[in-house]
Symmetry: C2
């Protein structure tokens, strides 16, 4: 049987590099990654875990529950999680809840009946107790589901602070941030409090626009962006998640405001859509790939009845500075 060492030798790299490629952990040069994938292909290498699974007759399936597959954040998350699961010999079953509580609950019921070895959930609609009554290993993405259910998230407080300081640096005097509903307990809410605090410390006006629903719907984004730019025509700095940030830019430009001369923007998440426009958008980047790898590592620990080193993981965000925060 081909081993990871065989692949490493064939690709002229170290075994750790092969492992990083298999785990999709992302610190590998494109050229090296290509060499490794080529070697995997040529040797028809199958990770050991896959063989082990088949032997132990587990289903080899981990369910991933998300509100909407086509939202860029979850699309990138699923993509990375699926690659990481595959390297452990697992496949993913994707469950789409459309932010409907009913579907989340029903999926949990179905997953109880199916042979699913574990659940990674990024969905936010359902009451915690539903999850706690599930007898499968569960890992939560960016959500507190209570004791015993590990949570993987970024340091959102730091994210809010960096975003605020970037708009201060750019010379903003009158900013607006869009927040999600506060009906769900997610660490991501913490960024808005910090953002607001930093602004007050600098004597800068900060409007907080609360979205009625945590919807991932581009026509909804356009609707509230038009409302916001009508109601606050003089705002000179926006802080919002990628999709909404782009929508605020479009809405402002339609009304004749010059981007990024008349107003500054910091987007949050750093999905690929934040890279699509010119001039470029300054973005607080979540390491989506790493979030997925950590979720998969934790669910593997739980499935294989290992005690995870630490239950909750808090990853770092980074600032990707673009033209949208060039100084006034």
């Amino acid at each position: 049987m081909t081993t990871i060492q065989d692949v490493a030798r064939h690709a002229h790299v170290g075994a750790a590099t092969v492992s990083r490629v298999l785990n999709g952990s992302g610190y590998v040069k494109d050229a090296t990654r290509e060499k490794v994938l080529k070697a995997i292909k040529e040797l028809n290498y199958t990770p050991n875990e896959m063989a082990r699974n088949l032997y132990h007759r587990k289903s080899g399936i981990v369910a991933i529950i998300v509100p909407e597959i086509s939202h860029p954040f979850f699309a990138e998350f699923i993509n990375a999680a699926e690659i990481a699961l595959f390297s452990h010999g697992y496949q993913s079953m994707i469950c789409n809840t459309w932010t409907e509580q009913n579907y989340e609950a029903r999926y949990l019921e179905i997953l109880k009946q199916q042979r699913v070895d574990g659940i990674i959930t990024g969905s936010h609609t359902l009451d915690i107790k539903h999850y706690q009554s599930t007898d499968r290993p569960i890992v939560a993405l960016d959500r507190d589901l209570g004791p015993g259910i590990p949570c993987v998230a970024v340091d959102h407080v730091e994210g809010g602070r960096i975003a605020a300081e970037e708009l201060v640096r750019a010379g903003c005097k009158n900013v607006l941030q869009c927040t999600g509903t506060d009906t769900v307990s997610t660490p991501s809410n913490a960024r808005h409090e910090t953002f607001d605090k930093v602004m007050r410390e600098h004597g800068i006006t900060c409007h907080n626009y609360v979205q009625k629903q945590n919807m991932f719907d581009y026509s909804y984004y356009d609707k509230i962006s038009d409302e916001i730019t009508d109601k606050y025509p003089d705002v000179d700095g926006f802080f919002a998640t990628d999709g909404l940030a782009l929508s605020l830019i479009r809405s402002s430009m339609k009304k004749g405001r010059r981007y990024p001369k008349d107003f500054k923007v910091v987007a949050y998440d750093g999905t690929y859509i934040s890279r699509l426009i010119y001039p470029s958008v300054t973005t607080i980047v979540q390491p989506i790939n790493e979030l997925a790898v950590q979720c998969v590592d934790l669910i593997m620990d739980l499935i294989q009845e290992r005690v995870p080193e630490e239950e909750n993981k808090k990853l770092k965000v980074t600032l990707r500075r673009g033209q949208s925060t060039e100084k006034f």
Copy 2:
């Protein structure tokens, strides 16, 4: 047991509307859709097919094989397919091939071992014979996999014609289109021939840039966009898929060209990313939702051993005119 009629009565709509919502076929107003989903939730309605499946002990799982989940086209396709499958009492297992032949082949092997009731494939890397040797029902998205395997696609020839005529109408004299590799037999290649033909008929210069790989990789898009805008600095009209079209716009703007004054753009696919920039991009829109619903309908026919009304489906594209083709 709650029936579809109960839901219809509760939501004050017709049963056909409930069915459209369940099938995600998309001709339902947002407000109506919300009413129906609310009724489904309140009555805890479960589609009949789901009960039937549980009774017949099918796995209730359809695998969807795509090159990359996070590509907007496939993300939207999976999203819609998953909703349509759910309404039939099915779940989806998503398989991500990263355009690596090796993974596509391995997935097919795994799917043979798993209890998967059917396969919808949008992946393009593998030799046809691998699919033909699979003993599960298969439906292909946008790919000819040979006799007996239904194919769902749009009318790409018409798409190429509409795109070309739009750039002619806008006054272009020197255009460039980006084509995928021609190593895979997919109906989508047909649009480029037609585009080129229309241009020649109008005496317009048409450069054809052939992508080396059908990669869905934004840094690759940026790389080839920079090459293209270096090599063809005077092109006044671009035709490319959504992501590449946006990349060509960014690259041209970076070099000081004014969008959309100095050059026109027609994007192809109509995923949500084609709506993200201002001024807006003219786009040939594939009905992605409908493509997914048709794939699911066909796979349901095959799974339930019904003869499909027609094996191959060819859906219409539409032109969404934006500011990127305003006349010179």
